[in-house]
């Protein structure tokens, strides 16, 4: 599913990952932790095919990410929730969710039921469907961004601080979402500073420090 061997990745000229060895099986949930600058976000972006490894081997969902064409191929199978929401301010919630589903390669326009279902699953009110994103609160934007992932049903979920900016109810929804994704056979990698909350989701915790795996409770 995900396998990194001595993976090195640069941010500019700075080595953000200095030699990561990690193996994640299909259907597993892995929690990434570590101090700021440890390389958590870079690791997620590397697994999403957004970064090329400088050296080492990176294989995700059967794609060898050392080649550009394979990185592009894996992107449609991966759902990455980053620090920014990636939403268009002037489009409505429903239009954003539909656009990102189509952009990710869903052949047909996702049905209204599927879009509404994803939005409801994230605890968003139906009344928000036709509201432009610029009128949403930060928490509602975060949930909309997650809804766009839910509609796509990716094989690999890469969630970078998914609880950030959410209230208690929103955090509970995210936890349920992660549980549902795993139950549906998906693989989930979550980066979070909220250790107590995320530890209840999975026994496997990978700690990064200085761009390398410092500790892995699953190895």
């Amino acid at each position: 599913m995900v396998e990194l061997n001595a993976a090195v990745a640069l941010l500019g000229r700075f080595p953000a990952l200095t030699g990561v060895d990690l193996r994640i099986e299909a259907g597993e949930t892995v929690l990434l932790q570590g101090p700021n600058g440890a390389g958590k976000t870079t690791l997620l972006r590397l697994c999403a095919g957004l970064l090329a490894p400088e050296s080492g081997n990176v294989s995700v969902l059967g794609h060898d990410l050392t080649t550009g064409s394979e990185r592009r191929a894996v992107r449609r199978r991966v759902g990455l929730l980053g620090h920014s929401t990636g939403l268009y301010e002037d489009l409505t919630v429903a239009e954003n969710v539909r656009f990102w589903a189509r952009a990710a390669g869903l052949d047909a326009e996702p049905s209204v039921e599927r879009v509404v279902g994803a939005i409801q699953r994230l605890g968003l009110d139906d009344g928000l469907l036709d509201l432009p994103v610029h009128r949403l609160s930060a928490g509602q934007r975060r949930r909309t961004s997650l809804a766009a992932l839910v509609v796509r049903r990716p094989d690999l979920w890469l969630l970078d601080e998914p609880h950030a900016g959410l209230d208690q109810a929103g955090r509970n929804v995210v936890d349920t979402l992660i549980g549902d994704a795993v139950a549906a056979g998906g693989t989930v990698v979550v980066s979070s500073h909220e250790l107590e909350r995320v530890r209840s989701l999975s026994p496997r915790v990978v700690t990064l420090a200085g761009g390398a795996v410092h500790r892995d409770t699953g190895s």
């Binding site: 992107r75 980053g82 920014s84 929401t85 268009y88 952009a103």
Partner: protein
Amino acid sequence: MRRFLADARLVAAKDLRIEARSRVVLNQVAPFALLVLVLFGFALDADQRTLRAFAPGLFWVAVLLCALLAVQRSVSVEQADGALTGLRLSGISPAALFIGKAAAVFVQLVVLEVLLTAGIIVLYGSEIEQPLLVVATGLLAAVAVACTGTLYGALASGLGVRETLLPILLLPVLAPVLIGATRAFDDALGNAAVDGWAWLGLLAVFAVVATAGGALAHGALVEE
């Protein structure tokens, strides 16, 4: 190929929908375009003979200034909240993304050209003697400007340079379009004895090179 066209259409429709909602072109760029024509009129002493003589050049300078705003808007839409990362992650090919974004800028430029054409007729008293040449010039120049602008917009965005640098990067490259389109309009408006259709050839070559070159180079600019 079907996937490519579907992705390009998806991106173009998204950009045009955003434009329809925000109305930046309608409420800001279009009034700016007309204001430029009026200011040229003030600068040239409102003498209609002079204005008519210079109308083709003034028209295309106004188009290029408006194109800068349209391109900057097209780039900023993707930068506002990390949407470009989402587009890269979506698996849409960089070439399809380029064609989609250029197509949306093209549509906006054509609307502005129609408005500016009405402007030079009303304000400068210009008369169109060869409508077909006007339409062909307008379309080819819009393709050339939209494709070049989209490519340089991605370049400026990818390099992280300030958007104020975009005009310095883009306008010199578009000088052949300005020259070719102005000469073609000189013929179409009956201002000078030049072969406008020959200048149209220059525009066609520029448009083809800008489209193909942009589609090929865009990937290197949006990828990290």
